[in-house]
């Protein structure tokens, strides 16, 4: 004979407990009785044993997992990727303790929550015997009885003061079985996949066109053209710094030897533009018409160290010729330039 499900609805705790006792007397096992209420009544109020729950292994497992993850994240990864900062050691203990604490707490809480869902068989995917009046403060007593005991059980419920008794064929109420685990298996798989997707991005498997400011640089690179000439008065990256108006190096006094050396160097380095007599009529003037005559008063009255700067660094379209001349040779050329006036 088929089993039946009964749901009796009671006003308060005492009649429910009476019904539990009556059903027990009929020989119905306690595990076939389920009591539902809108507020947490302790089981002992119904004369029943407190249900068992298995949180400790979950919470401990979660705590250990969190502890290990915390250690890995905060203490082991710095060893794997050592980067020195601020004179601190590679494995910093106090900060690691904080991370380990937080992750231990987080994982034990999450594990407790998972335990809650698994033990309560949430979410319940099958039909359940229920009456919405239960959340209005009434107590529901669900009992599963075999067909031959049905009438006796109903009598017990009614005798104890049940406000109403529903009866249904038990075949309609199956246990969830594996469906619950399958559901959570599916959810966790989906969650894992969702966690793996960022890895595709961070490992550049999927490339997103992402903002990278450092690439957008206005800096003209060494290989990029066209370059402009160095502006007048620029300070060279290497070598001495020459500042207008200040002596650069010790001048060499004018002497016949100096003038003679200067003449030779002048003819090599300067005459093609400035002319062999400094008249500003060298061969190159057809390309550079602005070449000044060195006999000009403007040039002749310039301070020696300013001429030194011009020769070294160049001026306007005149290139610096420091590469061809040492400091002493430059002074020889300057002496010679001054002698052109005479």
């Amino acid at each position: 004979m088929a089993d039946f499900m009964l749901l009796g609805l009671f006003n308060n705790v005492t009649p429910t407990a009476d019904a539990v006792d009556g059903l027990r007397d009929l020989g119905i096992d306690d595990k076939n009785i389920t009591i539902m209420s809108s507020l947490p009544y302790a089981s002992k109020l119904f004369g029943r044993k407190t249900p068992r729950s298995w949180y400790l292994p979950f919470v401990l497992g979660g705590a250990v997992a969190g502890l290990l993850l915390g250690l890995f994240v905060a203490a082991i990864t710095p060893e794997l990727y050592p980067i020195e900062v601020g004179g601190q050691g590679a494995t910093p203990i106090p900060p690691s303790a904080i991370i380990v604490f937080e992750l231990t707490a987080l994982f034990s809480m999450v594990a407790a929550f998972v335990a809650f869902l698994l033990q309560g068989r949430f979410p319940i995917l099958t039909r359940q015997m229920y009456d919405p009046r239960i959340t209005d403060g009434y107590i529901g007593l669900q009992v599963r009885v075999s067909g031959d005991m049905l009438d006796q059980a109903v009598k017990v419920l009614e005798a104890s003061g049940a406000r109403s008794v529903q009866r249904e064929d038990a075949a309609e109420y199956r246990s969830q079985g594996i469906r619950h685990l399958l559901f959570w298996g599916g959810v966790s798989t989906a969650g894992l996949i969702a966690l793996l997707i960022p890895l595709l991005l961070t490992y550049d498997v999927i490339r997103l066109p992402w903002i990278n400011n450092m690439k957008d640089t206005p800096v003209v690179d060494a290989q990029e053209g066209p370059r402009r000439a160095v502006p007048a008065g620029s300070i060279p990256v290497q070598g001495p710094v020459l500042i207008a108006g200040q002596p650069a190096t010790e001048p060499i006094p004018s002497s016949p030897e100096s003038l003679q050396r200067g003449d030779v160097l002048y003819n090599i380095n300067c005459a093609m533009c400035h002319g062999s007599l400094g008249g500003g009529d060298g061969l190159m003037t057809k390309y550079f018409p602005e070449v000044p005559a060195l006999t000009d008063d403007r040039i002749q009255t310039m301070a020696a160290h300013d001429i030194f700067l011009v020769i070294t660094n160049g001026k306007n379209r005149m290139p610096g010729i420091a590469k061809n001349l040492t400091a002493g040779e430059t002074w020889d050329v300057i002496n010679f330039v001054y002698s052109l006036d005479e």
């Binding site: 006003n11 308060n12 705790v13 005492t14 009649p15 389920t34 009591i35 539902m36 209420s37 809108s38 507020l39 947490p40 009544y41 302790a42 089981s43 109020l45 119904f46 249900p51 729950s53 949180y55 919470v59 994240v73 990864t77 794997l80 990727y81 900062v85 601190q88 910093p92 900060p95 690691s96 904080i98 991370i99 604490f101 937080e102 992750l103 707490a105 987080l106 034990s108 809480m109 999450v110 407790a112 929550f113 809650f116 033990q119 309560g120 949430f122 979410p123 319940i124 919405p132 239960i134 959340t135 209005d136 403060g137 529901g140 960022p198 890895l199 961070t202 490992y203 992402w210 903002i211």
Partner: protein
């Protein structure tokens, strides 16, 4: 036989004593105490659900208004992303400003919720029962709002994933020696823990909503309630996990604001580098958090007509809690400053002269709001149970605690070791819009959420009501609680 009869009627139909005098007293006690004033749960359920589903014109005006301000917040943020942090008033010495102060402030607001719920639950204090959910939601959204500010604060938002501990092709792992991570980890843990804590306590109420709604609502609540029926096993499970989460979440709560305070205390900045910052921040957070919960309670009571649940006794109890926090805050602040004052180091002198000089209006307003206002008024039960007075006091405390954070962040940064680098900070419009917008965002989320879930944990109220009975003692009636466990 009376005893047996009483047990056979539901807890909300317990008979009154036959003696008329005592009946009067019981009536009085019932008006005072929610726990004695049991109504049929069907009425209370209907009340809570009706308030939840009711969308008045005022509600829509509020949502639109808050939504508008939130939109301004979003627009400002986009502008800031486009033009850089430069649109704010930050400068080369004051590199942290209101964004960080807001982070501290909103985490602080979020602090009290879970504390009220978890700690008072562990201590079995009954006044938490109707408040717990309202407070927990303050925590959730306070933390969520606070969580926006690191994103608002950084210079290159689009690179913020560098901070996430995800394995990557760059071969780089974040630096957990940075105090920013301690705080971020703690906030994440607290947010996840609080969400779970709120959700499990919400389950029976979702089932309640499922049983008393129809159509689409019913389908949604049925999914969310996950088939909760309230069996012994389920209740026992809920009891155990609530205890576990309470025990774990309280140390986490302490670590959250300690972590936030260490962002400052770990730096060499004068005024920040102080060992007292951890407890000082926790007390400050609870102080502003409890005040925030009281403000929320007042608004909920007024706007949703929840006078049955939020009674004078609750405001009274919260007021006492607030006063204790105020005292603790004063104690820590005094300890902090007397050490500085007595030490009289040049930097500390500079900070003090700034507080009593350039920042004097803010400093004195803060002291007034945090010390004079609460300590001068909250000793009186009449003040504690008067809603307008409590609203004003709590708003003062919000202002005072916000100023405290601003002074610590933007104020102290403007004075540092080399006087050449003393640059004062003045906020510009983006900070103002963002701050107000964040507050509006929090209020908006809260307002919308009150229409989605039952804002009163009715099962907790029923549990309290079922366990409380009036007891005659001599010539008077008292409330007696039955301890189930």
């Amino acid at each position: 036989m009376l005893e047996t009869n009483a047990e056979r009627v539901p807890f909300w139909e317990q008979p009154l004593p036959e003696d008329e005098k005592l009946a009067e007293q019981v009536e009085h006690e019932r008006q005072e105490h929610l726990m004695l004033d049991a109504l049929p749960p069907s009425e209370n359920n209907a009340l809570v659900l009706a308030r939840m589903q009711q969308t008045t014109r005022l509600f829509w005006v509020l949502v639109l208004g808050l939504g508008g301000i939130t939109l301004a917040f979003v627009v400002t943020w986009v502008i800031q992303m486009q033009y850089g942090i430069g649109i704010t008033g930050l400068n080369r010495s004051v590199m942290w400003g209101p964004y960080i102060a807001n982070l501290v402030y909103f985490v602080g607001i979020g602090h009290a919720g879970t504390f009220i719920s978890a700690a008072l639950r562990m201590m079995k204090l009954d006044f938490r029962r109707p408040i717990a959910r309202a407070a927990e939601i303050v925590t959730l959204f306070g933390l969520a709002t606070a969580g926006l500010f690191p994103f608002l604060h950084v210079g290159r938002l689009w690179k913020i994933f560098y901070m996430f501990p995800i394995p990557n092709q760059r071969g780089l792992w974040p630096n957990f020696r940075s105090a920013l991570f301690w705080d971020a980890t703690a906030i994440t843990t607290y947010l996840i823990g609080s969400t779970m804590f709120m959700f499990i306590a919400l389950l029976p109420d979702l089932a309640m909503a499922r049983d008393h709604t129809s159509g689409l609502h019913r389908r949604i609540y049925r999914t969310l309630a996950m088939g909760w029926r309230g069996t012994e096993h389920e209740w026992h499970n809920l009891e155990v996990i609530a205890n576990i989460l309470s025990f774990v979440i309280i140390p986490v709560m302490f670590s959250v604001h300690t972590g936030v305070s260490w962002n400052f205390a770990m730096a060499l900045q004068p005024g920040w580098h102080s060992t007292i910052f951890g407890p000082f921040f926790i007390v400050g957070a609870l102080f502003s958090g409890v005040a925030a919960v009281i403000i929320v309670m007042i608004i909920l009571r007024k706007m949703m007509g929840l006078g049955y649940f939020f009674r004078e006794e609750h405001f009274n109890a919260m007021g006492i809690f607030l006063m204790l926090m105020s005292m603790a805050w004063v104690y820590f602040y005094f300890t902090e400053w007397i050490v500085n004052w007595y030490g009289n180091l040049p930097m500390e002198k500079a900070l003090q002269s700034m507080l009593t000089g350039d920042l004097a209006p803010l400093f004195y307003l803060m002291l007034f709001s945090n010390i004079v206002v609460p300590l001068g008024t909250l000793w009186s039960r009449r003040v504690r149970t008067s809603l307008p007075a409590m609203l004003v006091i709590c708003i003062f405390i919000q202002i005072g605690m916000y100023l405290e954070r601003i002074i610590i962040v933007a104020g102290f940064l403007s004075r540092n070791e080399l006087p050449f680098n003393w640059v004062n900070y003045t906020p510009r419009w983006p900070e103002v819009v963002i701050t107000v917008g964040a507050l509006a965002f929090l209020a908006l989320m809260y307002t919308v959420f009150t229409r989605l879930v039952p804002i009163i944990p009715v099962w907790e109220v029923y549990e309290g009501q079922a366990m409380h009975t009036p007891r005659r003692f001599g010539r008077a009636i008292f409330s007696v609680r039955t301890e189930q466990h």
